[in-house]
Symmetry: C2
Subunit: 219 residues, 2 copies
């Protein structure tokens, strides 16, 4: 086994799963039940099982289902973290993904190898994280922000039907600053990513129209 | 060994090494000397050696030095390629990096495990590449273009001292379309990435000033 450890690095994935809860960008943390780093908070993740996983993305989906019963609807690769010292079990490569979970489907529960789950503030999680997960979380937030600061609409975070105010609120929560309403509406008007529905919800002043993602939507 | 193959995926790196040669964006290809995919053209790459490599980036630097005698001055991660079928030796994860080599230092030579090297057109390499390397090359070109279409200056491709015309030419070669001279010069004037030198080269009409990367330069 010690010779194998020399020849074969450990390979797996870590996942920064984001959602918007209570008007904040949150990330799912798990309290590890086992060594190494037992009882420390961490991003959920796990090693690839070549006989089970068709890819690293499949590895991420399997691990999140197994540990916290979350079906990942969306996955995006951020970067790899590698070397001899980041995990006491040996030379390791972890591939970091981030994923977005709709704010009406925050359903993580404690399952295997996990003592507790928590939706922590993504910017200031309030725990010292295991391994290099603080660095990983920072990189995942940065990549998500850069994407939304560009032209991508984070519709994966919204319910299936949403108002433009809800969308604007989620964008400004991700970016960490207010978004100008009129230029945001102009940008949405030119977008092919949204479909207007003939449905309305009661707003504070007047009924607000509902929208959904179009077939052309991609994040 | 067959049980190990079930437990431990193969892990390594592939590198899309770009330079500008004869006014074209080129990528370094190697003709593989060994199975699998012997005598097929491929991006240079190789498996991690945990007892030698401090990280996957170190793996990339070691492999490029070993196979084609290139010192990589710059490395950027693109994405991972993984699964049971992409390499006949077993379940594999390859991490793709791209790197930029100055146009005055194109010094790749045939060394270990390689039959030939070639600077091929990066957009139309003219060979069917080994493994999933065609897909990898496309992804690397896309990432490089997106970065240069943003605000990044590809100074790693230029000699240590260069003229603004040389820089504009390299940017337009990467993007695949002409760049407007006056708006490009305005952008450079506002940039903190360049330092003017008190040196000039004879141009077609009048002497052209030389520049170098500033201490603040980052790509």
């Amino acid at each position: 086994m010690s010779e194998d450890k020399e020849l074969f690095p450990l390979v797996g994935v870590d996942v920064a799963l984001f959602s918007v809860v209570d008007e904040r960008l949150k990330v799912l943390l798990v309290k590890r039940a086992r060594e190494p780093e037992a009882r420390r908070w961490a991003l959920p993740g796990g090693l690839v099982k070549p006989h089970l996983d068709a890819s690293l993305a499949a590895n991420a989906r399997r691990v999140l289902a197994d540990k916290v019963a979350v079906d990942l609807p969306h996955l995006e690769e951020v970067a790899t973290y590698s070397g001899p010292d980041r995990d006491p079990r040996g030379w390791s490569v972890m591939v970091l993904f981030y994923a977005l979970l709709p704010l009406d489907k925050i359903n993580a529960v404690v399952r295997n190898k996990v003592e507790a789950v928590e939706w922590a503030d993504a910017i200031a999680p309030g725990h010292r994280l295991a391994f290099d997960h603080t660095e990983q979380l920072t990189a995942a937030v940065k990549k998500l922000r850069a994407k939304v600061a560009g032209d991508a609409l984070p519709l994966h975070l919204l319910p299936e039907k949403f108002t433009l105010s809800q969308l604007q609120s989620v964008v400004s929560i991700i970016l960490g600053h207010p978004v100008d309403k009129s230029s945001f509406r102009r940008r949405l008007k030119a977008s092919t990513q949204l479909v207007e529905l003939d449905e309305f919800v009661r707003g504070a002043q007047r009924p607000a129209q509902l929208f959904r993602a179009s077939e052309a939507f991609s994040f």
